[in-house]
């Protein structure tokens, strides 16, 4: 046997993106029975105007994790209001995988997430606030530390504060020392907060 060549396509130039005329076809493909076809449709819809609503709708129905990941990437690339709202809504989903996948996608969008993070950290649902703190874990944004400090200073829910204390130990600076001492006082009878805050303080240095 040997090395063989089967005609591979050699594109000398980048190609135009799908035209609006193809939008209807892509909508059908987004519901095709083949996951391969659905993934490609989601990728092609990135450039179609007003595709965000369709992608968000499909995201909540989609059973294949590989297609969901592609839809989430498409929404993060689009980054318009509908896309961002759709991503945030995933945090309220009962579908654990979708929720975690959305958190991962949102970590990639520091600039677009900034205004939304403030809202999420003030959400009435403590679970959503915990997911917001999870997003901060690898969100490369200069305000991450100040958001976390604000959480441990003001959030009324113990579990939300505990999540933020853990993270401050990883991403905080000596500026977080005083707030960490204050939360230790506030939850003086909660052993976990005492422990987590001590670990964070020992990592931060600066004393």
């Amino acid at each position: 046997m040997a090395f063989v060549k089967v005609a591979a396509r050699d594109t000398q130039q980048d190609t135009a993106n799908p035209r609006a005329l193809e939008y209807d076809a892509l909508e059908l493909q987004l519901h095709d029975e083949s996951a391969d076809v659905r993934r490609w449709a989601a990728r092609d819809l990135v450039d179609c105007p007003s595709a965000s609503r369709m992608l968000v709708g499909r995201l909540h129905e989609e059973g294949d994790a590989s297609v969901r990941e592609v839809i989430l990437t498409a929404l993060t690339i689009r980054g318009d209001d509908i896309a961002m709202t759709g991503l945030v809504e995933c945090l309220r989903s009962e579908h654990v995988s979708l929720r975690n996948e959305a958190v991962e996608a949102m970590k990639q969008l520091p600039e677009k997430m900034a205004p939304i993070i403030r809202e999420l950290l003030g959400d009435p649902d403590p679970d959503v606030r915990i997911f917001a703190v999870n997003i901060l874990e690898s969100l490369r944004h200069p305000e991450v530390e100040s958001w976390l400090i604000s959480v441990i200073e003001t959030d009324p829910e113990l579990n939300v504060c505990a999540t933020a204390v853990d993270l401050l130990g990883e991403v905080g600076s000596p500026a977080a020392r005083l707030p960490l001492h204050r939360i230790k006082e506030r939850y003086a009878d909660v052993p976990y907060i005492q422990f987590a805050a001590e670990v964070a303080l020992s990592r931060l240095g600066g004393e």
């Binding site: 046997m1 591979a8 594109t11 130039q13 190609t15 991962e104």
Partner: protein
Amino acid sequence: MAEIEITSADFEKFREFFYRKTGIQFEPSKRYFVDKRLVERIEATQTQNFRNYFTTLRFEASGEELQNLTNIMTVNETYFFREEYQFECLVNSILPDVVSRKGDNGPIRIWAVPSSSGEEPYSIAMYLLEFWAGINQWDVEIISSDIDTEVLAKARAGLYSDRSVQHLPLRLLQKYFKSTGDGHQISQDLRDAVDFTRVNLADRGTTRDYRDFDVVFCRNLLIYFDDISRRGAAETIYDALKPEGFVCLGHSESMSRFSSLYKVRKFDEARVYQRPADSK
């Protein structure tokens, strides 16, 4: 000619444009590298200043200048048998796994992207000939792609410096290369063994036809991309692979950091990534 100045605002504008077109993100620390090459192209095109040059880049219908610029902005230094442990993994672990699942007699398909000047795909071909008995039973198709048309031309010509071949055993150098006086040219048989094509991983149009690969080598490319472009590239490679096909990344790269599409396969020689079997 007056000295050409690239301001911080110009750099930012260019950075954003180039990222959208190629997925390659230049950090501010690369400012000197980028400015130097921009000035070089402004002089070559006689556009006199950044503003004129940028207009040419954005609106030129042929895209020729964008390609010229891409060619000099991408880094192409590599050598034969770089990260050799992955080639050992290919012949000792990956291909036996591929063959054990193969349900037809069609060729085993390998895609090496980026090709750079050809050292990696030719290393793969040599490794298969030298260290994989299966080459006597199976046809193998090697396609290698790059965004840079100049390095593709170099790859097709197969001419290499002493530095490129320095890690090759002398026996293989003598067997597969002929001396050209100031370098080495790889044999015609090996040049015929690899199909070099132009692909931009950030452009779906150019990758759409790349499908049904058993193995993809994508080493030391994703380090130039930002997170969202890496996710996009991971999705492109996923669709280029057959179910249960493998991806080999560079030693400092990890698919798991930006994509959950793949499962990790730990072989004795290397850790690689595998597209899961289809779940219908």
